[in-house]
Symmetry: C2
Subunit: 235 residues, 2 copies
Amino acid sequence: MITITGIAKGSGMIRPDMATMLAFIATDAHLESGVLQQCLAAAVEQSFNRITVDGDTSTNDACVLVATAASPSPVLQPGDTGYTAFCEAVTGICIELAQAIVRDGEGATRFVTIAVESGGSSEECLQVAYTIAHSPLVKTALFAADPNWGRILAAVGRAGLPDLDIEAVAIYLDEVCIVRDGARASDYTEAAGQQVMGRDELTIRVALGRGSGRATVWTCDLSYDYVRINAEYRT
Amino acid sequence: MITITGIAKGSGMIRPDMATMLAFIATDAHLESGVLQQCLAAAVEQSFNRITVDGDTSTNDACVLVATAASPSPVLQPGDTGYTAFCEAVTGICIELAQAIVRDGEGATRFVTIAVESGGSSEECLQVAYTIAHSPLVKTALFAADPNWGRILAAVGRAGLPDLDIEAVAIYLDEVCIVRDGARASDYTEAAGQQVMGRDELTIRVALGRGSGRATVWTCDLSYDYVRINAEYRT
């Protein structure tokens, strides 16, 4: 049996690119330090490096994984089933901590998953996901629970993808399709969109219709409290 | 005698990349249409394409320059002194209109010039200027009249310039040097910084210390009213 424990702090100035976010994970597993580093790097790439509160990277992010080797379990090595399970567990903890940082984001009232799929590559999916996640117009619409599909579609359009065929783009708010073939879905009703936007947690899913790349980013809304916290933090 | 008149509207969703900004300029000068287009393109590059309110490009920017040729003045051609003077006048009007759009930005309480100099190229200076102009932390500090030099320096650092020597960087708020040699200037006092930050108009000047490139961008702060306008626009 192996135990893994993690703690993290963040709140604003959060868009780790391994930048004031701090995360510590400890385990009693036994791994060589190089192997441990490789496991952590892969986990961080899919967790802490996929969250953003305000797009401002902080100046001293750190994520530390410590292994004491005190567990009686055997040494874990790449290729072993045990190692794969260990990496999945570490990644799972990192994702849980990373999401907790977003939920605790400065002024955040809503937790939003932005999932971009069928892109030409995972890099271009990330580019679209971050453009949506950083758009002040999308973030204020999320705060207002306003299903403003035009703001989301505009962010997709200005993300800088070469030769993007906007007519191939579809956008969903959870189970509700709001944009199909690059325009407002004909069966979409604002009541349905509003109902999703009022949820504490929701997913904006964008299908680019040009490949098999995919990427997911987690973010929050932009509220009065974000402005208050960052404008009045000394008063 | 030649007359040039211009009008423009903008307010949020403003970071023209020729994007809901509309500008119309009319003149009675006589120029060929190709020459007129060339003059306008150069003017727009230094004016409308150098402003940002929130980083969200709008979907239908337009800047139109119409010349009626009704003036009795001779046809203006590239190379003529008259043409140069005409282009300078058009550029001046475009800058005035572009700045007016920023002053009228959604929720804007302060007009900020971001001037980046001594960069390796004008492109990298622009990259630094836009990173500062789009930083929610810098924008909320501007709203609060808070001389938070760390937020500005952090934006310079994350702008993505290759091999940036942070120790060569200097930052000024109007006439007050806040960062010298990459760290808080030793003679800087917070009272001096606060005095500048309280002004309705101010310049953040960044010297990168690595070349002769320069670029200027105009922007505004991020206030409660930006959030209100974009979150509650339908109520």
